[in-house]
Assembly symmetry: none
Homo-oligomer: 290 residues x 2
Amino acid sequence: MSENASTVAELLQSNFDNLTRAERQLSHSLMENYPVSGLGSITTVAQNASVSTPTVARMVQKIGFKGFPEFQAALRKEVEATISDPIAKHETWADQAPNEHIVNKFTEAVIDNIRHSLGQLDIDTFEKSCELMADTNRSLFIVGGRITRAMADYFFLHMQVLRKDVTHIQSISNAWPHYLLDIKKDDVVVIFDVRRYENSTLKLAEMAAEAGAKIILFTDQWLSPISKLAHHTFSLKIVVPSAWDSSVTTMLLVETIIADVQKRTWPETRERMEELEVMFDRTRFFRKFT
Amino acid sequence: MSENASTVAELLQSNFDNLTRAERQLSHSLMENYPVSGLGSITTVAQNASVSTPTVARMVQKIGFKGFPEFQAALRKEVEATISDPIAKHETWADQAPNEHIVNKFTEAVIDNIRHSLGQLDIDTFEKSCELMADTNRSLFIVGGRITRAMADYFFLHMQVLRKDVTHIQSISNAWPHYLLDIKKDDVVVIFDVRRYENSTLKLAEMAAEAGAKIILFTDQWLSPISKLAHHTFSLKIVVPSAWDSSVTTMLLVETIIADVQKRTWPETRERMEELEVMFDRTRFFRKFT
DNA sequence: GCAAATATGAAGAAAAAGTTTCAGAAATGA
DNA sequence: TCATTTCTGAAACTTTTTCTTCATATTTGC
């Protein structure tokens, strides 16, 4: 090989473009639990990646080895190096970059946010909230602010597939009265509000509360004033080395909730998804599945 | 074997008394560079210990394995444990909930996605991409798909503050020609495209490429077909225990990029942010800072 | 020191792993 | 859409590994 790559991982990466679909699948499987996943027989490796043995044989040749045994020998050497050098344990996330690189610093902070936020998460709040959101007898309204609107949109997009009666309250202030007309007692209003708490969002929360709706709030560790009106509050740590706050933790929680609600509404959701499938097919919106 | 030893090393030790001369020699050789030294073929292992292959075969049976392959499988498992343990796997994130609770399962998967994606991240791609996006001589266009539109919107929201000439290409297909008119040579087009790759997005990418724009692509591990047109591609792992894919990793990377671009454009950005401050004050958009 | 018991490795048999071929499947391009 | 190219895995084939046999070497007990 002309590359001067020193590890199999690097070889896999630098040749990724030249790999075929099955080979990429294999490549990913190998990286999955690198480098141990490549230590079994060629048959085992193939099975783990759900490809055939010839694919394995072909790929290792493609990335520069004479054959599978040579490839495996290289892996063994790496394992040896990793094991005998205890300091080289992954402390960095992007190991191509130094510890101080922003990618690693930022990720470090985000992981810390996640650890912190989940450590504080009240499971009962989580369960109860999911239950409310899965209850199709209640209409569901979703509201975001200036920055959190993307989050609200993302949540809406998924909930819309999972269940009926979901509304994204989008525009700022003007159109709200119309939405508010529709909010009935015991409906559920999900609000995203993080610091630089917005007046208008607070106003909407107040009106929703007056209408007798259940409010579920996603906010930061400093708690939006809406928390006084909310039935369930998720407070998340959002601090990162940036002029901005991070939404990663919020998104993690939102996705987890989506997964949980989906479990709860599965019979209904299943039908909806199948119908959606058919419609996508008919509109040729997507490419053929790859 | 009657022993309840859990590692090969323990088996070797507890059976040491019953071993013959050649077998002890082999045992020492194995412990020498444990457990990697036992990972080669039976012939290699035998040669390293200066004994014959039958000796190896006999000994592994003596200490309780059915044959050499089984012995080696046990070793591999130990290697795997040694390598993957220090990265603190199977950590409970929400400690109020059991390990199997969806919150923990989901988070585990997301962290794994992050680790995996960043491990593969090419730093040069990262730097070059940030440089392109920070270059105000180039107009910046941002495009998302059905699901990724929220992501695109989030990115747009921030970039809009950081620099001038940022456009979010929102609607599907109809309004594109107008946007495309504005895309000039060397402009930057950021595209989000994950599986269920969308035909329309691909078309747009093609047209942008024809116009001579630089394409930066955020996609999943299976690579959107746009990757062939893209100058820089970020492939992220997005698999979670859900019917949906996760956008958390993408968001992490997007936020990191925002932070980095901000550093690069700080002088210009600072002014913009201050002006924005003033405008917010005047519109009383936010509550007083709490 | 010598017979009996045990251990050892060369050589070949059996089994498994690795490689190559090739026909059908999938993707691509016109 | 259809022809062409490329990819993929079943199956045949080759190589290597693993296991077994057995003759020779070594140790042990007396």
